[in-house]
């Protein structure tokens, strides 16, 4: 019998051809792999969130193998001596076991928590990038809304996860959440008793939050993230203005291989940073907080950073209680305003912002080019105002820790927060607006008169003037040089930034990297490295 010859080299091609024969995927796949992405460091911030979400899924799956979402009371008898013999819920006991008994459990728990904080932080930083560069404008309003929703769903994911270990901190957070729900007029008590299955804390809340945390919310997040990324594919990524870049094209790298390889590398870096933080920095030492008991509330009980602004707004809110004399009397507690009304307003304002801005500017065109923050001072200033508002609230959320560690009176911190909340945003608006105008003016100056050279010349009449290097060629009229148009991109402001192209390979840590030996393609001369520049000296040699 003759053995059939098996050609190993042809196998992948044959297999791919077989797949394409059956499913006809080659054409769409080629389109996908050839998709061009513009390259700028600020476009990678959203990826940090995406990659930390993947780390969250991986570590989270590991944790579910060992976590027991139950509030049954057990007596701890594990290896952490200071809690041995203490009655606690099975959820807390299994969290302790994950930390002390399960091999690699503690680093997984810490990585999960750090990845959650990083996920939210990256979402906020990415959102700021999108806001300040105007990337949310038509046609991308939908993606802006989905992004804002992702923040709030991530907020829920974080809060439910924070509550699961059932340690002292979780329980305190849940107690506050139940109080917030109770403060909602009319429906408050029904909402609370249906979520907790009766009075706080009940016996069901951990199991319910567990299902929400590991199934419902992640599913929602995956769905929203998929739509978010799908819309980026469909609508194409925005890009910075520059040579050859218009509102109608995308200049950048193909998805495959370069962009995909870079993204893969970046994923490894994000994973590595999370793993390092999980291994080096202790987060949420649940064994110190002890099991939750209603009468145990530790000082410095704070929510995670992305919820801290609500804690801050609660701390700053004066105790204004509204009594409505209907029937037996009806009360709207002061807690209602900072924890239900304020987030409601924030959700509304943030999701509607693209439409508000378009309406205000009467700008209903599609924009695929980004704007530098300085070129839109009003928007940049509004953003700075929002950041200032959020910062004051977040700092107020930690005001007891700040007061204690910096030896400031807690009452003074509260008043500073109240006053700061009112005056910091307008100050931020004004300062940012002026800064933007100043930067714009300097750009125009350089375009009109050239780059400052640092060379001072003394005129015959004794005046000193600085020599400017004009950016444009000489013209016949005026002062000899024509002003250049501003194109919405970086204006060179130093002599060594001049020239149409920068160095072939721009490194970050080492200023200029030498280009690698480029393969010589037929018909093209090999790429020559740029000749080294001569030193610029001021005339006479030094003696």
């Amino acid at each position: 019998m003759k053995r059939r010859k098996f050609d190993l080299a042809a196998a992948p091609g044959k297999a791919a051809a077989g797949v394409d024969d059956r499913f006809q995927v080659a054409t769409p796949l080629r389109r996908l792999l050839n998709k061009v992405f513009p390259d700028h460091w600020s476009f990678l911030l959203g990826e940090i969130a995406l990659f930390s979400f993947i780390v969250l899924l991986l570590t989270g799956v590991f944790l579910t193998f060992f976590f027991e979402p139950s509030m049954t009371e057990v007596i701890y008898n594990g290896s952490y001596a200071p809690l041995r013999g203490t009655p606690m819920s099975a959820a807390y006991a299994s969290s302790l076991d994950i930390s002390f008994e399960v091999r690699g459990g503690l680093i997984m728990r810490q990585m999960h928590h750090w990845a959650a904080l990083l996920f939210m932080a990256a979402i906020v930083v990415h959102m700021l990038r999108v806001f300040f560069t105007g990337a949310f404008r038509k046609p991308r309003e939908t993606n802006w809304i989905i992004g804002s929703l992702l923040f709030w769903v991530g907020f829920l994911a974080g809060f439910t996860g924070y509550s699961l270990p059932d340690d002292g901190l979780s329980g305190t957070g849940l107690r506050i959440a139940s109080a917030i729900m109770l403060s909602i007029p009319v429906i408050g008590s029904w909402v609370t008793s249906s979520i907790f299955g009766g009075e706080f804390p009940g016996t069901i809340i951990i199991s319910r939050f567990f299902i929400a945390h590991v199934l419902l919310i992640p599913a929602l997040l995956v769905a929203l993230i998929s739509v978010h990324l799908g819309l980026v594919f469909k609508q194409k990524h925005t890009q910075w203005p520059g040579p050859g870049r218009t509102n109608g094209n995308v200049v950048g790298e193909r998805m495959f291989p370069r962009y995909a390889i870079k993204q893969g590398g970046f994923f490894m870096i994000v994973f590595g940073v999370i793993a390092l933080m999980g291994g080096l920095f202790q987060i949420n030492p649940i064994w110190l907080f002890g099991p939750y008991e209603a009468w145990v509330v530790s000082a410095a009980s704070q929510p995670d950073w992305y919820v801290m602004f609500l804690d801050g707004s609660t701390r700053l809110m004066p105790a204004w209680q509204i009594n409505i004399p209907i029937g037996d009397g009806y009360v709207i507690p002061p807690l209602f305003w900072p924890t239900v009304v304020l987030p409601g307003i924030l959700v509304g304002l943030s999701t509607l912002y693209p439409f508000l801005e378009a309406r205000h500017l009467k700008d209903y065109k599609s924009h695929n080019l980004l704007q530098r923050p300085r070129d839109v001072p009003a928007r940049t200033a509004v953003g700075a105002m929002a950041v200032a508002f959020y910062l004051v609230l977040t700092l107020s959320g930690a005001n007891d820790v700040i007061a204690d560690k910096f030896q400031i009176s807690l009452n003074a911190m509260t008043w500073a927060g109240r006053i700061g909340l009112l005056i910091a945003p307008p100050i931020a608006y004004y300062v940012t607006y002026r800064l933007c105008l100043g930067l714009q003016q300097h750009d125009r100056e350089v375009l009109a008169h050239g780059v400052e050279t640092g060379i001072i010349r003394r005129l015959p009449d004794g005046r000193f003037v600085e020599v400017h290097q004009p950016l444009s060629a000489a013209q016949e009229h005026g002062d000899g040089h024509g002003a250049l148009e501003y194109t919405g991109w970086v204006v060179p402001k130093k002599m060594n930034r001049l020239g149409a192209l920068g160095p072939a390979v721009r490194g970050f840590f080492y200023p200029i990297e030498k280009p690698v030996e480029a393969p010589v393609s037929p018909g093209h001369p090999p790429v020559e490295p740029r000749p080294e520049r001569e030193e610029i000296s001021s005339g006479e040699p030094r003696r």
Binding site: D39, V125, G290, P303, D400, Q407, L410
Partner: protein
């Protein structure tokens, strides 16, 4: 408790019941004899113990207390007044605060006070252990009050787990879950427990310095105090922080700071580096 009450009531009843049984004459005679005997005893005792030439306006002090009084009259009298009776608007009376309070305030350097403010800060102590003990002895003999047990190690038989539970219920509201301290209203604060010794923690519970409530032996029995001290000294201070650097154990606020200062900063630099590689 109840059996002791019964016995006491029985004794009183017996004392009240006895004179009624005797006749009136015998009772009068007995009273006169007792009065005479008491007067003789008092007079005799006075002649025996009364100092001859020198006149003293308070009770005699042991030698340690006398040394303590000498220190007091130099360093403390400005605010706490003569005989520790206190000075209006400057310092409280120390009658009845006990040796425990003196030992806490002086050995942690809080007293003598640097200046009048919301709350005294811990600082290097001005007096040696010996001098502190003398001061404490003086105040103790002056007005009585709570005292510390002897010895440096007051948590020898303490149960860490029981102490942890008591700590979380009674102490963590102000001193925080890690014993790092926390803020109170108007510039007052619960200090960090890290530098505190066994005796200082015990004295603080017993005397309730500044804004701290008193945890007398009725609220926390001595063995429960030993449990709490054991938890603070053995668990909180010597915990190895299995998760790595503990970020000061200030709770989620420093964790939030860390994710921005370490995580986001590192990854923004990474994205600058990666985007530069084109």
């Amino acid at each position: 408790m109840t059996s002791e009450n019964d016995r006491r009531r029985g004794l009183l009843a017996r004392l009240r019941g006895r004179p009624a049984a005797r006749s009136r004459g015998r009772r009068r005679l007995g009273a006169a004899v007792r009065l005479l005997a008491a007067l003789t005893l008092a007079g005799g005792a006075y002649t025996v113990f009364a100092p001859g030439a020198q006149a003293q306006d308070n009770q005699t002090l042991s030698s340690a207390a006398a040394d303590g009084k000498a220190l007091f009259d130099v360093s403390c009298v400005t605010c706490h007044g003569r005989n520790a009776q206190g000075v209006e608007g400057r310092g409280p009376s120390l009658i009845g605060v006990g040796a425990a309070s003196v030992e806490f305030q002086v050995s942690t350097g809080r007293m003598p006070l640097a200046r009048q403010e919301a709350q005294a800060h811990r600082k290097p102590p001005l007096f040696t252990d010996e001098q502190t003990r003398q001061l404490a002895q003086y105040i103790q003999e002056l007005g009585g009050g709570p005292e510390l047990p002897n010895g440096e190690n007051l948590h020898e038989n303490g149960n860490v787990a029981a102490g942890g539970e008591l700590f979380r219920i009674n102490c963590s509201q102000c001193h925080a879950f890690g014993g790092g301290g926390g803020a109170l209203s108007s510039g007052k604060f619960a200090p960090s427990l890290r530098p505190a010794t066994d005796r200082q923690i015990y004295a603080a519970m017993l005397s309730g310095p500044q804004n701290m409530p008193v945890f007398g032996d009725n609220q926390l029995r001595p063995e429960q105090k030993a449990d709490i001290i054991a938890y603070i000294q053995e668990t909180l201070k010597h915990d190895q922080d299995p998760g790595g650097f503990n970020l000061g154990r200030y709770g989620p606020s420093t964790e939030g700071l860390a994710i921005f200062l370490v995580g986001i900063v590192a990854l923004v630099f990474a994205s600058l580096w990666i985007a530069g590689k084109s």
